[in-house]
Every structure is written in structure tokens, then in C-alpha cells.
Subunit: 240 residues, 2 copies
């Protein structure tokens, strides 16, 4: 059976302006790989309602799961929750269980629960909360869309809350062979290997180090025995 599929939507001007280097995509990609959920597409859009709504609709219809990152904080530029509600054509309002979580948290810290903070209790109708052990304000799952915070520590905690609830597939196994020869020399044997092992994904990722070219050949698949056979042949063909 084919593995479940996934897409990620990163929401935020800070990535597109070059201010911040993405960390959440890298984290989620690794976690999904281990779980056997195939991350097939990532989109990064700005804090623009039309762009967010269009991307949520497109990705939600195309993949088993969608994971979003960013835009659920207390400030004016945090519009993700409203956009998710709009994409699913549902309403959004302060929800009592989310409000109670925040109220208890702020009270224990002697901090005022103001209007801005109350915004973080606004949850679309029909959603399920995602636990946030770092800073309490919850994420949520609506339909097949899992909505999480952008701060990496909080995003990672929410991913850890959500993933155990999902049904994974066959974890993607992989082995890597590093070859200190340019890609152009190994392309022939690699293409033949790819033809002979249609169930494996054989990727060649070139690098340049100390002025010399090399490549990491990554063989991925669901069956360890098949990967072992391909790696043995690869090592023989490339004389490593």
C-alpha cells in the first residue's frame, strides 16, 4: 500500500525577505520520513490572506496531511487561524477550552490576559486543539490541516504532539554512498541501476569540497534487502 502523503505550508514574510533561514521545514521533513509519511511538496507564502487561503485549499485537496507553520501568535500580522477557517468555509471565535488554558497559564505567571493574548484562543469551529507544552497557546487540527506555530521550539513541540496521532506508512529506509568523483563519471552506472531497481529511488547529490567534485548517492526504499543489493552493486560498479 502506498504511504500517506503530506505537504507543508510555511507562512511568513521573514523567510521570503531573507531575514530568517528556515528551520521548521527541515525538522518536519526528517520527522515525516521516519514515520513513513511522504512529504511531497512545500510552499512558502507571505502573510497575505488570499495567498494563504489559496494554498491551504490546494494542498488540503492534494495530500493526506497538510502541516502549517507560522502566523498563530497574538499580533496583528498573525492571520493564519482566520485564513484556515475561511479556507474550510467555517466560523472562528474564542473557544472556552483554549481560553481557559491561556487564562490559567497567565494567572500562574502573574501576567495580564489582554485582548491580544485572547486572540490566541480563537479556534475555527470543529477543530481539535494541538498541545503546546512550551508556551501553552495551542495549535489546532481542522480536517486534514495541522496548524502550528512558527517559533522553532514551539513548532517542534507541536509536531511531537501531533505525529503520534497519525497513521504512518513504511518508514523510508536509505543508505548513502559518498563518491569522490564528479557526477559526470558515475551517471552511466547510476542510470542503469535506477532502471534495474524501479522500486528504489536513487538520487545523486553533487557537492564541491576543497575544490574537488564528489557526490552523495542516496538509495531510498521500503525494503532493506533491496537497498542492500543495490548498494553492493553500486560499490562494485563504481569501484569504491
Amino acid at each position: 500500500m502506498a504511504n500517506p502523503t503530506a505537504a507543508m505550508l510555511v507562512i511568513g514574510d521573514e523567510i521570503l525577505s531573507g531575514r530568517t533561514r528556515d528551520a521548521n521545514m527541515y525538522h518536519l521533513a526528517g520527522e515525516l520520513s521516519r514515520l513513513g509519511i511522504d512529504l511531497q511538496e512545500v510552499r512558502v507564502v507571505s502573510d497575505n490572506a488570499d495567498a494563504i487561503i489559496a494554498a491551504v485549499k490546494a494542498l488540503s485537496g492534494g495530500y493526506t496531511h497538510v502541516f502549517t507553520s507560522g502566523g498563530i501568535g497574538p499580533t496583528h500580522d498573525d492571520i493564519t487561524a482566520d485564513c484556515i477557517a475561511a479556507a474550510f468555509d467555517t466560523t472562528i471565535d474564542v473557544r472556552e477550552d483554549a481560553r481557559a488554558l491561556l487564562a490559567a497559564h497567565y494567572e500562574s505567571r502573574g501576567v495580564e490576559m489582554n485582548a491580544a493574548r485572547l486572540r490566541m484562543a480563537r479556534i475555527p469551529e470543529g477543530a481539535e486543539l494541538i498541545d503546546n507544552p512550551v508556551s501553552v497557546a495551542p495549535g489546532f487540527t481542522l480536517g486534514n490541516v495541522h496548524v502550528m506555530a512558527g517559533v522553532p521550539a514551539v513548532f517542534e513541540a507541536m509536531v511531537a504532539s501531533v505525529l503520534p496521532k497519525l497513521t504512518g506508512g513504511a518508514p523510508l529506509l536509505s543508505q548513502t554512498l559518498t563518491v569522490h568523483r564528479p557526477e559526470g563519471e558515475i551517471a552511466g552506472p547510476l542510470a542503469e541501476l535506477a532502471t534495474d531497481y524501479p522500486d528504489l529511488s536513487i538520487g545523486c547529490y553533487p557537492f564541491q569540497k576543497d575544490g574537488a567534485f564528489g557526490a552523495n548517492i542516496v538509495v531510498r526504499g521500503a525494503e532493506g534487502r533491496q537497498i542492500n543489493a543495490a548498494m553492493t552493486r553500486l560499490a562494485r560498479d563504481l569501484g569504491t
Copy 2:
């Protein structure tokens, strides 16, 4: 006049599988910001022809420029050039000027010009070559799509070849104020500032450091005087 817009398409299983952390998106985003070209969307897709062609068509139709990264090497999984040709409904073949560049390069290094390497001279009809001072094999521009390599050193060199040919806009200026208070406390004054300065983009990027929450408030716009005024008010309102 509004700035030119851009999208980026990152092609490659290595990002989606969590094997590699993206570097090219971060580099391009910074360069475009300086040039006054607004990067508004990024998509990451796997080495799958249908996915690449669909993304190229969608992005090419939606933005002034599209920049792609990855999939133009000599190996079997390098299918970007063929996909670009398909997206533009044009032909692709070995082109003499590209072949000559590669032949001279390999001859000077005493390396064989084999079938795999010749693949890198396959250029869609009507494209213009992009200079590659690092490893010679060229990128190309077809229509509004700039097709570049995925290896960061080569990608960056190609970006440096392409960008001076493009017409930029007003460079996006920005100033950042770091506040060591949680977002929930500063959200009110920030929202008022955003209302009073509709021409500025005011983003709030929370962080967590040594257990305490803080935020970087980034004010972006085309006019330095306006940004200065907003920053002065911000410092006064937030008492920093």
C-alpha cells in the same frame, strides 16, 4: 510603481526527505530583497516531472520572475531542463554553444566528454544561457524562468550572473527593534502602528532565549524617512 515580483521553485527529493537543509532559498531571498524584487512564494517539489511542470506553469504565470534550483546535472534524476521545455511547450536538444563550453572545459582538464556530460548541453529552444563560472555547465533563462543548479556554490554563482541583467525596484529597507518582552504585551501598540503606517510592513517575530520570550519587530518599506518615524514611535510606545 510596484516592485517586480518573483517566485522560487526548489526541485529535489533531498530537501523533502529531510536529508538536506535548504540553503539556496535563503541566499536568493536575501539577494532579491537587496535588488527590490519581491519574493512572494517558494515551492519545493520532488524530482517528479508532472509536479515540476505544473509548478513551473503556475509560478511563471503568476510572477514577474521565477528562479529554479536543482536538477540540471548529468545524472538520470536530473529532469529539470526537459520539464521546463515541456512547460513552455517547446523542444529541447544539445545546443552547440553549450556543448562547446563543456568540451573546452573537459578537454582542458583531460577528462572525457561522455554521454552523461553531454546531457548538460541540452537546452530548450529559445533559451539564453546563464554563465557558470564554477563548473562551466550552464543554466538558462527561458521566458521569465531562470533555471539554475542546486549545488549551493554553483547556484550562488549563477544568481550572481543573472541578477545584474534584471530590472529591480525600490530596494526594501528595514529596521529591526529587539524587545525582551513577550509578544502578547506589545501586540496592541504594534497593531495601532500598522494601522497608522499602511505603506509599511510591520512584522513581529517572536523568539525564545534562555527561557524568556522576546520578539524582533521588523519594519519594512521603501522610504527610509517613514521607517525612521515608525521606529521612533515604536521605541517610545514600547518604552525601550
